[in-house]
């Protein structure tokens, strides 16, 4: 089989300036081996010592990617055209040795790995509510390697906040957001923590709001922005954590509505940690995680898939209304649909 190899401009100096070569073979691999024999410089760029395709190059047989046709074993026909394309890639940040050492344990977890870690490094997480009960969540997000954390809390530290994991007695009366940002910066230099708003848009939200109304409003903002979010809501016995990947039943549908408005008790710190873990799952495995609700009652957790209430706007039934909602008018109107 005689095949025409099309060489793109930037690679032609590796084969005497020619844009087209011909070679014979029954498979892509045989054709490339002949090219490599005739043009060693180009061959060294295409194939490694063991004859495999190098990562610097992409191959198209006709209009199809060779990788999808079976790689080097893909058969060729007389007159086929094999196009070479340079692979052009790079990255702003990377998992260097120091980061690998720090996150070695979770990097081993199946489904996590370097890709999961890089997704966390790229994430910009807005945390709504940074009272004492929320502090374990802040620490968990930072220690997992979230790259950017925005703390949305206008309140100052009160005596009750000291039962969390971050604030110290001498800090009562100081703003929660700035104190938390400074404390977390000391924990890890791989995170940028700033008080919210920052002028940027978050890529995920964790809601640890002090009231149900605030939790509902923050969750609705995240739903409209189509970003993954998790809501932690405390009640008298412990509370609930609701995970909402984009497109899943919204918080208003999924929450156990008798919850909230009651004072937190022991167990709430665990709940905030669970909320952070749920959000990390959504960030690490986007598209693979369903919406779910985790209830903690007298120390016993139960997990269930969330259900959409009939007619809720989160089902996409009122897409036109959803568009209108982008200007800030569709929210409450949507509840009546």
């Amino acid at each position: 089989m005689q095949v025409t190899i099309l060489v793109p401009g930037p690679m032609r100096e590796l084969c005497g300036g020619r844009g087209q070569l011909t070679a014979a073979g029954a498979t892509v691999g045989e054709v490339l081996a002949e090219v490599a024999r005739a043009h060693p410089l180009l061959g060294a760029r295409l194939l490694d010592e063991s004859g495999q395709v190098r990562r610097y190059v992409g191959l198209f047989l006709g209009e199809e990617e060779v990788r999808e046709l079976g790689g080097l074993a893909a058969p060729v026909r007389d007159g086929d055209r094999l196009s070479l394309v340079p692979a052009i890639a790079g990255g702003a940040r990377e998992l260097d040795g120091e980061r690998i050492a720090r996150w070695a344990r979770q990097l081993l977890v199946p489904g996590f790995g370097a890709a999961g870690q890089e997704r966390l490094m790229a994430a910009r997480v807005r945390v709504v509510g940074a009272d004492g009960q929320a502090t374990p969540a802040l620490l968990a997000l930072v220690q997992a390697g979230v790259g950017t954390l925005w703390i949305d809390d206008p309140e100052t530290i009160g005596p009750a906040d000291l039962c969390g994991w971050l604030y110290q007695p001498g800090q009562v009366g100081q703003p929660r957001a700035t104190v938390a940002a400074a404390a977390l910066a000391g924990v890890s230099r791989f995170v940028e923590v700033r008080p919210y708003p920052t002028g940027g848009a978050p890529s995920a939200t964790l809601v640890c709001a002090a009231s149900s109304a605030q939790a509902l409003a923050s969750a609705e903002a995240a739903r409209r922005a189509r970003i993954p979010h998790v809501v932690v809501e405390l009640d008298g016995e412990a509370g609930q954590v609701v995970s909402i990947p984009p497109g899943a039943p919204c918080f208003a549908c999924a929450r156990f509505s008798a919850a909230g408005e009651r004072p937190p008790v022991a167990g709430s710190l665990v709940l905030a940690s669970l909320g952070a873990q749920e959000l990390l799952r959504l960030l690490v495995e986007p598209g693979l995680v369903e919406g779910r609700r985790l209830d903690l009652v007298r120390g016993v957790p139960t997990v269930r898939a969330t259900q959409r209430l009939p007619g809720c706007v989160c089902g996409g039934a009122a897409v036109a209304g959803g568009e209108a909602g982008a200007d800030g008018q569709g929210g409450l109107a949507g509840d009546g649909v």
Binding site: P8, G9, P10, E13, G19, A44, R45, R54, Y56, G58, F60, E65, S83, V85, P86, A87, I88, A89, G90, G91, A92, R93, E94, D96, A115, E118, R119, M121, A122, T198, G199, G200, A201, S203
Partner: protein
């Protein structure tokens, strides 16, 4: 020395033959995509340098770029048809400055020599969503050498 850049500006020199880099257009492309790195080719054609954007298909496009091979193939074929010249590959950094990262270098080099001989690497760096700095990196025998940066603000947080 840091040189000022503003929207619409074309560098006075840089791309060769008296042509300048389209800094304003590159800044606008990068600012139009605050969540995902933009990438593409800079093509010299008819006395001008024009960005040809290519889709970024990296797994984590907020911190990495990878030119869609299918779009790249189409762009290289068009380049042959129209007789243009590939001057540079550009991409944006959402934060962290306009230098080439270790991973940028790993992607641009094959066994220590450029994957694209004679083609420069141009980086547009965003800072809080605004294009803050642009640098061109050219291969000089054994390494990439960076141009003096163009910057929107001379008092840039990146110094």
């Amino acid at each position: 020395m840091v040189r000022a850049v503003w929207p619409g500006m074309v560098s006075e020199t840089g791309a060769g033959d008296g042509r300048g880099w389209p800094l304003g257009r590159l800044a606008a492309l990068a600012e139009g995509s605050p969540e995902v790195e933009v990438c593409g080719l800079l093509i010299g054609l008819g006395g001008e340098v024009t960005p040809w954007p290519v889709r970024n298909v990296a797994a984590a496009p907020a911190t990495a770029f990878e030119l869609d091979p299918r779009e790249l193939l189409a762009a290289l074929r068009r380049l042959d048809r129209e007789g243009g010249e590939l001057l540079a590959v550009y991409h944006s950094h959402l934060a962290g400055g306009a230098d080439l990262s270790t991973r940028d270098l790993a992607g641009a080099l094959a066994d220590g020599s450029p994957v694209l001989p004679g083609v420069a690497q141009l980086v547009v760096a965003l800072e809080r969503g605004r294009a803050d700095r642009i640098r061109v990196h050219r291969w000089r025998g054994d390494r990439f050498v960076a141009s003096e940066p163009w910057s929107r603000s001379v008092n840039s947080p990146l110094g």
